[in-house]
């Protein structure tokens, strides 16, 4: 059965954080090898985000550090990464050098598409596991496991749902402001949203265009204004990126357009609070990056210590988040990709500002 765990906060109210944690534990364990990894074993870990310097990746590091302390791992946990302009080449270099650096696991939020596959395969052969989180290796080559923040197919439904709740039952026209054109997670979400839009349920929502702000404030800002100029009948900008959503909201506010055009997508509550208050962005969603880092660490630790083999059906304990099961990744069929899904979404709006 396909899980539908995203919570619309109207039903959740003030208990959102508690439920966020408890829904994750509700996953039923299935048959398969695995269990709890014994703490105190030495595993050298590298946490490698797309690039350094964005709040969400720092939060993932917090979660990983929490798990690192909890499991009393005497090995090292290094939070390293390239700078943004060097993201693709830098990531490949880090993965290439990981075995020589004595790392047992690289936890990677991939920003390099399949270009990183040769480096990941080489690392895997040299005994360094590559566990992806946030953004996978599209072809899954060299990747042991992908820790998905949410079910990628569900992201599209969540975005379509928010779009309809903002545009009303009559529907309307909107555009997507994404990050980079080759970000695997962004493209998967956009594809799944397009799929959702093709169903009768969201038939009256029309996607005008997808544009890219490269996760840079200024480019996202300019792109948002360009969208406004290009499409006079656009009523919503959907930005599934934390940088893009806040830049778009600022652009519309500066130009006094918030009455006619709204912004939604994936955003951090503390960055979005002022736009939530003034109505520029009445609703947006996100998951906990702290939990994502925490879960990724637990999965990587279990894999590296041999507590799980890393095959379909394996289950393991992930501390405060409960039990998780490895499954085939339906969003990347025919690649043999494996994933675990953290879930669920939190939707933020006037009833649940999240700060």
């Amino acid at each position: 059965m396909k899980r539908r765990t995203f919570i619309l906060s109207a039903a959740v109210g003030p208990f959102a954080p508690a439920i966020l944690a408890s829904v994750a534990t509700a996953q039923s364990p299935e048959a398969g090898s695995g269990g709890a990894a014994a703490p105190g074993q030495e595993v050298n870990m590298m946490l490698l985000p797309k690039f350094l310097g964005i709040a969400v990746f720092d939060q993932a590091n917090q979660g990983a550090q929490e798990a690192h302390a909890e499991l009393e791992n005497p090995g090292k946990l290094d939070f390293v990464g390239p700078t943004a302009e060097n993201s693709v080449a830098g990531q490949i270099e880090f993965v290439t050098n990981a075995p020589a650096g004595g790392y047992n696991v690289v936890m990677l939020s991939n920003n390099s598409g399949d270009q990183i596959a040769p480096a990941a395969i080489a690392a895997d052969e040299a005994g360094t596991k590559v566990v992806t989180w946030d953004s996978p290796i599209p072809g899954a080559e060299g990747e042991s496991l992908f820790v998905a923040q949410v079910d990628f197919d569900e992201t599209g439904t969540v975005m379509a749902e928010m779009a309809r709740s903002i545009l009303g039952e009559d529907g309307g026209k909107f555009a997507i402001l994404s990050a980079t054109p080759d970000a695997a997670n962004q493209n998967a979400w956009i594809a799944s949203m397009e799929e959702a839009l093709a169903t009768d349920e969201y038939a009256n929502l029309e996607l005008l265009e997808v544009v890219y702000g490269d996760d840079q404030s200024e480019k996202s800002y300019e792109q948002a204004l360009a969208l406004v100029d290009k499409h006079p009948d656009m009523e919503l900008i959907m930005a599934p990126t934390t940088v893009g959503i806040v830049a778009a909201a600022k652009a519309l506010q500066d130009e006094g357009l918030c009455d006619s055009i709204k912004v939604s997508g994936l955003g951090l509550p503390d960055e979005m609070s002022s736009y939530l208050e003034n109505g520029c962005s009445p609703e947006f969603a996100l998951w906990s990056f702290v939990d994502l880092g925490y879960l990724t660490y637990h999965a990587s630790y279990a894999l590296a210590t041999g507590a799980i083999e890393g095959v379909e059906g394996d289950t393991f304990e992930a501390g405060r988040l409960g039990t998780y099961t490895i499954e085939a990744d339906p969003t990347r069929p025919d690649t043999g990709a494996l994933r675990i899904v953290m879930g669920p979404f939190s939707v933020y709006n006037a009833d649940n500002p999240g700060v």
Binding site: D58, K250, E255
Partner: protein, 353 residues
């Protein structure tokens, strides 16, 4: 006919004329492609978009005049925007104080470049390529992955970007644009009338000769870098005001846009040549291309980047070829004039030997 024309107009002025024609041509082309292109709203977007690159380009041009280059400007913009932004989230100061802070910080960063290049003798391209990376890494380190967000900034920052000084039939002159124009005019006055400005041309034309002639070449080069840094700092403040949300990638890639604008505007990378008017045109052309390509429907993202690069390349190549021809012609007419004059002076009778 062309001979007579060439005698009176220097090749550099031809170049600015050509650039003006190309710019108008680009505007007309996009006007046929993009609906409502000359709307007040679009024009306002364009002028506001110009402001930040223009301020940085004026500083960059001063450095380029001295046969140097400052590639670190984008990191300076990002770093000052972030530092001043962080300061403003914790302290209440007036906009003026914040702007001066940003400029001083920019000057300090520029001074590091200037010291290394002018007094350390390190080639500018190496120095500023290094500081481009270093200033960015400093930003990454001090930020601790925290983003400066509009919500944390004082209220006046939110209202500054849309602050308008004059409005004529919905065409705004925004405060940001006015600041950039003031900087441009100041830059023109400095380069045209101040001894310092004239010396920058002399140093760039022939650094050795300038030194032999007793010009304080080192000090002047140092000052050019400090001014460039200071203007990048001011641009950092404007960046903070305009975009409000400052991540560690702030202003990344701006150095390419600015260097391209300066070169397209006719400043020679070999120093000693260039005018403020040319730089203004160069910044305008590149900004028009960028903003218009954003609004030109039906093109993929990758193609847009390639087109922008191609257009810049064409502009520079055409410019170089045409200008090379013009200069040759200009020199030839001068030489012929001089030969004719000599002939006249020598009385014509001895012309046979």
């Amino acid at each position: 006919m062309t001979d007579r024309l060439l005698r009176h107009i220097r090749p550099e002025q031809f170049r600015e004329l050509i650039l003006l024609v190309v710019t108008i041509g680009a505007l007309l082309f996009f006007w046929t492609q993009i609906p409502n292109y000359f709307d007040p709203r679009s024009i306002n977007r364009l002028t506001v978009g110009l402001a930040i690159p223009l301020v940085v380009a004026i500083g960059q041009m001063m450095v380029v005049l001295t046969r140097n280059i400052d590639l670190s400007v984008s990191s300076t913009v990002g770093l000052t925007a972030y530092v001043v932004g962080t300061f403003l989230t914790r302290n209440e100061v007036s906009p003026w104080v914040a702007a001066v802070m940003a400029m001083l910080l920019g000057c300090a960063l520029g001074a590091i470049n200037g010291l290394l290049v002018a007094y350390g003798g390190v080639p500018a391209i190496i120095t500023t390529l290094g500081t481009l990376a270093i200033y960015r890494v400093v930003l990454v380190e001090i930020s601790g992955a925290k983003t400066v967000t509009t919500g944390d900034l004082p209220g006046w920052i939110g209202s500054l970007p849309s602050k308008t000084l004059v409005t004529v039939r919905d065409y705004d002159l925004r405060l940001m644009v006015a600041i950039a124009l003031i900087v441009t005019i100041a830059g023109y006055l400095v380069l045209r009338f101040l001894p310092f400005g004239r010396r920058l041309y002399a140093i760039g034309s022939n650094p050795d000769a300038a030194r032999m002639a007793g010009l304080p070449a080192r000090r002047d080069v140092f000052c050019a870098f400090v001014i460039c840094g200071g203007l990048a700092g001011l641009a950092g403040f404007m960046y903070l005001v305009r975009f409000g949300n400052i991540t560690v990638t702030a202003a990344q890639g701006l150095e390419l846009q600015v260097v391209a604008a300066v070169v397209v505007g006719g400043a020679s990378i070999l120093g000693g040549q260039g005018t403020i008017f040319g730089v203004l045109l160069g910044v305008m052309l590149i900004e028009i291309l960028q903003q218009s390509l954003l609004r030109w429907s039906g093109l993929s993202e990758f193609v847009k980047d390639a087109i922008l690069g191609l257009l810049i390349l064409i502009a520079i190549t055409v410019d170089a070829v045409v200008l090379g021809r013009l200069r040759e012609a200009w020199v030839n007419t001068r030489r012929r004039d001089r030969a004719a004059a000599r002939l006249v002076m020598e009385g014509g009778a001895d012309g046979a030997d």
